[in-house]
């Protein structure tokens, strides 16, 4: 028995060695634990998973987008044909393009559900206002992704929808016409517009969204998950009872900040 226990210990040490090696040199294991293994209120529900669902939808968009970029050609003479080729000839192209096209709507819809949950639960209040602001920036970037991505199939729907979208920008007072001219890269939609929208769609905006999601998650981990408004406890612990009773004080924010 004793030898068996010793062997087991030896095996465990061997298995954990790479982790220890990494941790000693980078601290990454500790950071991962800090990120993943967190205390949450006992009365959270599926409603608190909407953010993670939106994140998953974004990762699906990123991965399918990278693969689509391997077959798509952002050139006015070739763009439409390359999209038809992806849909009809490339193996499983119809599926990946479908995932990217419908997944775009799923991402935006999940963002709105997540936003509604945060709003209705009052989870945007102190100290989480900054995270609400970051979330709004993610929403705006996501919609810009939708606008720029819509042009890329380069069919009549794409072309005229973008004409209308750019001209809506142009009606903005003072700077509107300049913004429109910057977006279409000249007086009219042309070859430069397609390449510009492609660059924004697959480089600028995804980069911005990745960075914003990183900040968003950091703030979630730092500030913790809010209890539902009907919760008898704050942030999974008993409410903080101040010395002078609860008169005139709804909730002491300090009891949540520490979490």
């Amino acid at each position: 028995m004793a030898t068996k226990a010793a062997r087991r210990k030896q095996l465990e040490a061997a298995a954990l060695y790479p982790l220890d090696w990494t941790e000693e040199r980078s601290g990454l294991v500790g950071y991962t634990k800090w990120f993943l293994f967190r205390k949450v209120p006992h009365d959270i529900s599926w409603a608190q998973t909407l953010g993670a669902a939106a994140l998953t939808a974004f990762i699906v968009q990123a991965v399918t987008g990278v693969v689509l970029a391997m077959y798509y050609k952002p050139d006015p003479d070739a763009a439409y044909a390359s999209v038809v080729n992806i849909t009809e000839n490339v193996t499983l192209g119809w599926l990946v393009r479908g995932m990217h096209k419908w997944g775009a709507s799923v991402f935006i819809i999940l963002l709105f559900f997540h936003m509604a949950r945060v709003f209705l639960f009052g989870a945007y209040k102190y100290p989480r206002e900054l995270n609400w602001i970051v979330g709004v920036l993610i929403l705006v970037s996501g919609m810009a992704e939708g606008f720029t991505g819509y042009l890329l199939p380069w069919d009549n729907t794409a072309y005229w929808a973008t004409v209308v979208g750019i001209n809506i920008n142009a009606t903005g007072p003072f700077v509107g016409p300049f913004l429109a001219q910057f977006l279409q890269g000249g007086l009219n939609i042309g070859p430069d517009t397609l390449a510009k929208f492609y660059a924004f769609h697959m480089l600028v905006l995804p980069g911005a969204i990745f960075a914003l999601i990183g900040l968003h998650l950091y703030l979630v981990v730092r500030l913790g998950v809010t209890s539902p408004p009907w919760s008898p406890s704050a942030a999974g612990r008993d409410r903080h009872e101040p010395e002078g009773g609860r008169e005139g004080l709804i909730r002491d924010p300090a009891s949540e900040v520490e979490a």
Binding site: P76, N167, F174, P177, A180, Q181, F182, G186, L187
Partner: protein, 303 residues
């Protein structure tokens, strides 16, 4: 007490090494491109190198380290310090920030200009004249749909449509045409003539397709904008009358020039009075109170 490292065994700061480095750089460049540069570089390097060596071996001048020693620990910088001589660490951090800023600006500004400026100058904002062929192809008093490539070099994406009507002659005898641009002035959709198109009478003149149409009005399929036969709005969301092309007649051919925006058209055909403005984006007001919202025309809108 001040930091030991700042007062111990260090030469006074010197600018000579910079001159020495420039000399060495000139020597290296000269080795590749020209002998005179090589010689000049060598002279600079030798002169500044000697000055540097002299600086190093000469006895140290009175070190200005006294003020640092007098400073209390935990001194907080105040406005009064701005005029005072800075210490070594302060100078180095300021220099690092300054040099980083310069490098950042040197890299960022050209890239930013490259990203933004081409939209406002050069090929993208040029308009091209288009020859629609002999004016005899345009019967008097009838609209003809003309579709053409504004700039064949940039391809199919420059395909435009104009509605052309020969109005005969004005009172002083010059030929008159109405040349309406097909883009809706609500949000830029393609306006359609309301009336039968005579496909059998279609003509193609050097790449321009001409189709006669009995157009009593023009309608936009996107949001229901409706215009009369002069291009004035009479229903829907558009904010002004349809844009028009300037035209000229050269050797009997009708030439379309740049487009311009129209506030309103009084009268009909050859006797019409057109309120002409610079080319504005769809949805932009060119007259009325709202025009103060769009004070600056974009580059290229004047043609």
């Amino acid at each position: 007490m001040s930091d030991e490292h700042d007062t111990h065994e260090l030469p006074t700061p010197s600018l000579w090494p910079i001159g020495f480095a420039i000399g060495v750089a000139c020597v290296l460049v000269g080795l590749v491109v020209s002998v005179p540069v090589l010689i000049v570089g060598a002279v600079i390097a030798i002169v500044f190198g000697l000055l540097w060596v002299r600086d190093l071996v000469s006895p140290r001048r009175a070190a200005p380290a006294a003020p640092a020693a007098a400073e209390p620990v935990g001194h907080v910088a105040t406005v009064a310090d701005l005029g005072a001589p800075v210490d070594r660490a302060g100078f180095l951090s300021a220099a690092t920030i300054g040099v980083s800023g310069l490098i950042g600006a040197a890299v960022t500004l050209p890239v930013l200009g490259f990203a933004v400026l081409p939209s406002f100058e050069g090929d993208g904002v040029k308009t091209h004249d288009v020859n629609l062929g002999p004016i005899t192809n345009f019967p008097e008093g009838e609209y003809v749909i003309a579709t053409f490539l504004e700039n064949p070099d940039r391809g199919e994406v420059t395909r435009r449509t104009a509605f052309i009507r020969n109005n005969g002659r004005t009172n002083d005898g010059t030929p008159s045409f109405t040349a309406i641009y097909s883009r809706c002035v609500h949000l830029g959709c393609p306006v359609q003539p309301n009336g039968p198109i005579d496909e059998n009478a279609m003509k193609e003149v050097n790449g321009v397709e001409l189709r006669p149409v009995l157009a009593a009005s023009f309608g936009c399929p996107c949001h229901g904008g409706l215009y009369d036969s002069e291009g004035n709005r009479f229903a829907g969301p558009p904010v002004r009358s349809l844009d028009r092309f300037e035209f000229s007649i050269v050797n009997g051919d009708l030439i379309l020039g740049r487009t311009f925006s129209v506030g309103h058209v009084e009268g009909v055909g050859a006797t019409a009075r057109i309120a002409k403005y610079y080319k504005a984006y769809p949805g932009v007001h060119v007259d009325g109170v709202e025009r103060i919202l769009y004070p600056i025309p974009t580059p290229g809108s004047r043609g």
